[in-house]
Amino acid sequence: MSNLLHRYPSFRNGVHPPESKADTHALKIRQFPFSPVLVIPLSQHIGAPAVAVVREGEEVARGQLLARSDGFMSVPQHAPASGIVQRIDFVPSITGKMVPGIYLKPHPGSSQEVAEGEPCDLGTASPDDIIAAVQSAGIVGLGGAAFPTHVKLKPPEGKTVETLIINGIECEPYLTTDHRVMLEHTADIYMGIRYLLKATTAQRAIIGVEANKLDAADALRAAAPDDMPVTTGVVEVKYPQGAEKMLITALLGKEVPSGGLPVDVGTVVVNVATAAEIGRLLPHGRGIQERVVTITGPAVGRKGNYRIPIGTPLRFALEQVDVSDNVSRVFLGGPMMGQALSSLDIPITKGTSGFVAFTSAETAAEEPEYPCIRCAYCVDACPIYLNPSQLGILAKNEEFDRMADDHSLMDCFECGACSYVCPSHIPLVQRFRDAKAIVRERQAA
C-alpha cells in the first residue's frame, strides 16, 4: 500500500508477487527443541567442505568445533547441541546426492548453554583478525546463498569497499525471518555492522529495508547509534529487490558490471541475519549453532519464526509445527527461488532461511503451455534487462550458443520473474537453467 503513496527508490522492472507474509511477520521468534538426532552435512556452504575433527562415538559439547575449515574458501562447523557423535557417514542433501556429514545424537535434555570461545575484541582487532574470527565462527551468508562471509569481506587486490550494504529486503513471499531479526535483534545487527565496517574499512553502511517492513525500518532508525555512519534506506516492495545487484542499484544507483562482483562498485552486501549473527557470536568467540527459520505455508498448522538448531531434520521440524497430512510440496526458501524438496530427511542448514509447505489443494492445475505471443511481459519483468522471450524461443530451438553469444544468457541469475509473469505459461527460467548448464559445459570443453 505504502508503495502507492511514496516513491521509494528501486531498480527497473521486476514483479509484484503477493507477499503472503501476514501470517508470520508479527510472530516473535521462538526457540525450537532439539530433535532426537541432528544431521550435519560437512558442506553447508559454497566452497570446500569442512573436515571433521571428531571421531564416531565422541562426546561433544554445544558450540564445540565439529569440523575445521579446509582452506580459505571454507568454514568450520560447530556442534549445535551437546551429545554423542553417532556416525560420520553420508547424509541426505538437498541436491539429492548423499554427502559426507555427521549424525549427532543430542543428550536428552541438553541445555541451550553454549561453550564460550576466544572473543574477538572490536576495539583491538585488526581487519584481518575480524575476518579470521568471522571464518572461525563458521559464518556464511544467511540470505540463502550460504557463501562464506569472510571471503566477501576481503576485497581483492586493488579494490576498496566504500559502502557496506546490509540486506534486509527479504523480497521472497512468505518469508519473515529477516523482518523478525531486524525487530528483535537490532542491537546485534548494529554490533555486527561495527565489525563489518572495521573489517571492510568501508566508510558507511546502509541497511536496505523494503517498504512493507516500515516497523523494522523505524526500529532500526530508533536504535541507530550516533557514532556510526549508518543509515536505513527504505526501498520499493518488488521482487527481486533483495538480489544484491538490484539492491545496490536501488540504493546507490550503480550497476554491478556484468560478470563482476559488488566490490567492483565499491560495495559488499551482507544479509541482516548474517550481520546479526556476527554481532551475536564474535564478542563471545562462538560459532553458529542455530538460525532463525520461517516455517509457513498453507500446510503448516503453527506457522511462525523459529530459532532452530542446525541439522534438525525437516521431518522433525514439520512435526513440531503440525504439518497437514496432505502436504504435497515443500520449498526451502521462498516460492520464487526456493528449492523443492524430494525428501523430508534433509536437515536445516545454515542457508535455510525458511520453508514453505503447500498442500495438494494449492498445487495448481497444470496450465497448458502456449507459444510465446511476444507480449513482452517478461521483457518488462526481467531485472537484468534480458529478452526472455527471445531466449525462450531460442532455447526451444536448442540454439544455446546463440542464446549465450547474442542474448547474454549467462547474465540471467534465474530470479524467475519472467516465468512468473508469462501468460503463455512457458517455463522460461527452467529452460534458461538447462541452457546455461549446457553452455557452461560447452565452454569448459
Partner: protein, 193 residues
C-alpha cells in the same frame, strides 16, 4: 528522351515498382540469399554496386552500338560487358581488400547472372534515361532490392524459429512472405508521381 525527375525515378524504382516485388527481377537471389539478415544486407550493398556499374556500362554500350550501327547486338554486348566488368571488379577487390571481398565480393558472381542487373540495363535503355537518370535509377533499384531482401531476411530469421506446418518448406514460406510483401508494397502506389 525521358523527363522524369530524379526523385520520381528513384522512388519509383525503389518503392512503387520495386524490382523484386513488382517487376519480378532478381527472384533467385531474393529467395536464395535472404535467410540471414547479415548476408542479405551485404548482398544488397553488392547489388547496388553492380547495378551502378552496369548502368553506366549499359549507357555507354547503348550509345556506342548506335554509333557503329549495330544496335541489335545490344543484348549480347550488355551481358558480355557487364559480366566481364563485374568479374574484373571482383578480382580487383579480392586482391586489394580481402575484408571487402569477404563482405561484398563473394556476392558478385551471383549477381552478374541475375535478372535484376540485365533488366536494369534494358529498362533504362528502353525508357531513354540520360546518364544521371540512369545512375539514380540504378541507385533506386538497388535500394529497393536491398529493402525487399532485408525485410525478407528479417522475417525469415524469425520464421526459422517458428513451428510451421510440415508442408511449408523453405521456398514455399519465402514465396508466401514475398507475396505478402508484394501486397504491402502496393500501398506505395502513386507515390513519386
Amino acid at each position: 528522351m525521358n523527363e522524369q525527375t530524379l526523385w520520381s525515378v528513384f522512388v519509383n524504382a525503389a518503392l512503387v515498382n520495386n524490382f523484386v516485388l513488382a517487376y519480378f527481377l532478381g527472384i533467385c537471389p531474393f529467395l536464395g540469399v535472404s535467410a540471414k539478415i547479415g548476408t542479405a544486407t551485404r548482398m544488397g550493398g553488392a547489388v547496388m554496386f553492380v547495378m551502378l556499374v552496369s548502368s553506366v556500362c549499359a549507357y555507354a554500350i547503348h550509345h556506342l552500338l548506335i554509333l557503329i550501327g549495330v544496335p541489335f547486338l545490344e543484348l549480347i554486348a550488355f551481358i558480355a560487358v557487364i559480366a566481364s566488368t563485374v568479374q574484373l571488379v571482383e578480382m580487383f577487390i579480392k586482391k586489394m581488400s580481402p575484408t571487402l571481398f569477404r563482405a561484398l565480393g563473394i556476392f558478385l558472381p551471383l549477381i552478374t547472372t541475375n535478372c535484376a542487373i540485365l533488366g536494369l540495363a534494358l529498362f533504362q535503355t528502353n525508357r531513354g534515361y540520360g546518364l544521371l537518370q540512369a545512375i539514380v535509377y540504378a541507385l533506386g533499384a538497388g535500394a529497393g532490392f536491398t529493402l525487399a531482401l532485408v525485410l525478407m531476411a528479417g522475417i525469415r530469421e524469425k520464421l526459422e524459429l517458428a513451428t510451421m506446418p510440415d508442408v511449408v518448406t523453405g521456398t514455399a514460406s519465402a514465396l508466401i512472405v514475398a507475396g505478402i510483401l508484394s501486397l504491402t508494397f502496393m500501398g506505395f502506389a502513386g507515390l513519386g508521381a
